[in-house]
Symmetry: C2
Subunit: 494 residues, 2 copies
Amino acid sequence: MAFFIVGMMGSGKTTIGKKISKILNMKFIDMDSYIEALESKSIRDIFNEKGEIYFRTLETKTLNLLKDKEIIVSCGGGVILKKENREILKKYKTVFLDTDLQLIKNRMNSKEEIEKRPLLKKESIENIFEKRKNYYNKFKTFKYDIKTEDNYIISRIIRYFLDENQIISEDNSIQNYKIILNYKVEELEDTFIMSEKVNQIYGKKISKKIILENGEKSKSIENFQKIMNYLVEKSKNRSHTLVGFGGGTITDITGYSASVYKRGMKLKLIPTTLLSQVDAAIGGKNGIDYKGYKNIIGTFKYPEITIIDPLFILTLDESDYIQGLVEAFKINLLSGEGFEIFEKEYENILNRNINSVLKIINNSIKQKINIVKKDFEDKGIRNILNYGHTLGHAFESITGKPHGLSVAWGIRKENEILKKKGIMDDHTFYYIDRILIKIVGEELLNINIESKNLKDFIINDKKINRNKINLISIIKPGSYELLNIDLKDFLEMI
Amino acid sequence: MAFFIVGMMGSGKTTIGKKISKILNMKFIDMDSYIEALESKSIRDIFNEKGEIYFRTLETKTLNLLKDKEIIVSCGGGVILKKENREILKKYKTVFLDTDLQLIKNRMNSKEEIEKRPLLKKESIENIFEKRKNYYNKFKTFKYDIKTEDNYIISRIIRYFLDENQIISEDNSIQNYKIILNYKVEELEDTFIMSEKVNQIYGKKISKKIILENGEKSKSIENFQKIMNYLVEKSKNRSHTLVGFGGGTITDITGYSASVYKRGMKLKLIPTTLLSQVDAAIGGKNGIDYKGYKNIIGTFKYPEITIIDPLFILTLDESDYIQGLVEAFKINLLSGEGFEIFEKEYENILNRNINSVLKIINNSIKQKINIVKKDFEDKGIRNILNYGHTLGHAFESITGKPHGLSVAWGIRKENEILKKKGIMDDHTFYYIDRILIKIVGEELLNINIESKNLKDFIINDKKINRNKINLISIIKPGSYELLNIDLKDFLEMI
């Protein structure tokens, strides 16, 4: 079954359609180009030689040819002028891309563009739109203006195209989680905790909610009290459910709040970032920050259920997405499963192709759960997840770069040290490095930090054991050595 | 082996000795009276007729007669003047009661007292003391002045008399606890949390400690932060131990703090009140109060170990002791084991006799653990522990009486209602009532609260389910019915 996009010329149908096709792994077809190929003539020539009525009939024919294929079709702007076309489109999932006319006019300004589009020579865009708008508006409409991010509208259109609540996989061996494509979060009647950002994108239909400011700073004891105040005021009891809907910050503070309110209320987690889907929301840890220490107050509590919808990934900022990829790569590299995808399906990953993202999520969660199974209460084995963190943390503090990117830098730097010492072999080093470069880019990895600065930071880092440093040396994917190095020796290596 | 008390005439040796004898279940002997009986003569006559040297020899003889008996001996004031006597006393546990001379003079003012004591007629108390003080001070000295409470000094003397760290019983079926007589708390090198009051009595030798204000108000989020601040500043890690040393307030906030700092550090509880020994510190619940709601924030966490020393009971205020008794009676009545002691050993209980107190503690903990075993996470069965709480809570709020006493009132009142309705039989009612009267006194139980006031409170009590009231009707000890009554019907019963 095809998905159709209708809308004015120059409204972005092709751009959006192509992006969606890459995400959903479906072929993209531009109907005008398809007709041009069928007729071996340009649209302008068809119009000039055979007129609009003939052209519309060609559109009908094309719609009938394409409608049952697994494709995304960007339709010609005037396709909805013909009743028969409209009737076909209505039977299928068709969206109207309601782009701001001024935006279209800016894009259509070039002579070349006007030349390509026969109608534009005769009439103004406003007039054309006036005649069509009642037809357009009959379809599921997505407003697309300059302020709206591409990936936000893409995510919404994809959610419209896809069936709701498709269960991809589930597991309840230790943490009950479900990977659900196109999850309808607004159907839950529980109390949500979310950031301003998530509320803006996904919160419109959610009524019971506590909104916290964006970012790590919201994991504060003040916000914990804000949540407690809400629960107390609403007289919530232990059988009520708190839903943590957002990134790791939100799932962490929600988990903690639910674990201590009346000694434990119900908890659901719906992580929305790749990082939280593969890491933060998996494994039962929660916490808040206090006095500058991350997660210094927290508990272990598995949610009743964790719901992972890979479509949330689509609205992530590039940097957030990459941070998630670094984390996922780290877990998969350590476990020796699923790491090849970062090289083999790199293009798809870059395009946030749902199949690739799903593979990454599935693999990472499985591996994370394997590690957690061995060490639920964090008695040591979980330490391997700190791969790259010793120097990554220093890099993060010195440069202010995001955590996930800093970890990538830390992995590279720690690997370099181990290679220099002859502990890590060249082959493994370059294999890991090649993938790291793909994920975060060489520029970041090549940032040079004076060793003096790194050493100073490590010496003063309260989190670091005064005597010994844990360092992980990858032998090959899935096989590693946990080195316990004297702080003194480690400082000399840097 | 006998315990000896030496000190000046009128220093309180007999009063203190008798109290200790009741607590430790040992016979009390006043050496002067014993000699008078042996010689069939008054001390005055012995002095007058045979002189002081002869009298001191009688003392030596008596000491030798008594020293290996299980008794507490209050010695004559001058016993230490003879070397041989001092040598006997030094081989045994002997304490010097160092009472303020002014206090003694006030007590010795009557003619009758002076008449009884031969030395007093010749010399001033100051002169007598001057001659003896170097001998007295060779013994373990307990300062006893007007400001010091009787039960405080009694507790310290008993701790000196008894062997340290006597393990009475232990259990680790679900909660690892030990009943240890004369536990040396200062030997622990962990971080203590205690109230100002407990610090004053027991804290002198404890260096790592966080002191909170006395009373329920200290279970605040501010104090929780105070504890977190301390742990963060001292860079404590998860393997460090927090010791909750005090009543339920302290064990609750300590348990909560230890359960969330770094997602759980080690925890020891040393409850010091009867109430916390039989209830609050048993069962793994902890919590802090927030926005006027008790324990609204908390977790379930069993401590590594709970140490119960019945000697702590000796320094409790009367009202605190009684509250613990009410709680213990309630648990034992519900479980049908150990409730008879409250009638049979009533005199001993009143005197805080260690054997009786131990029985109460042992029984209550066992029963509490049985209930907890069935319902660790508080899903319902624990509800029976709320016996008497519906009306008790109302009484507490209206009169401001302590919680434990209010529960006693609540039990009586709820029983009365059930008796009136023919649900509870007269025999059971009067049996329970007789014991309640012994424990808390008839005056308290007879306090009359207008039913209108009780009803108003219950209608507005947010803790009470809007529709149904749980009421427990005791059929006989160990057998009860859990009634679920419509709020409307219940209000009519009051």
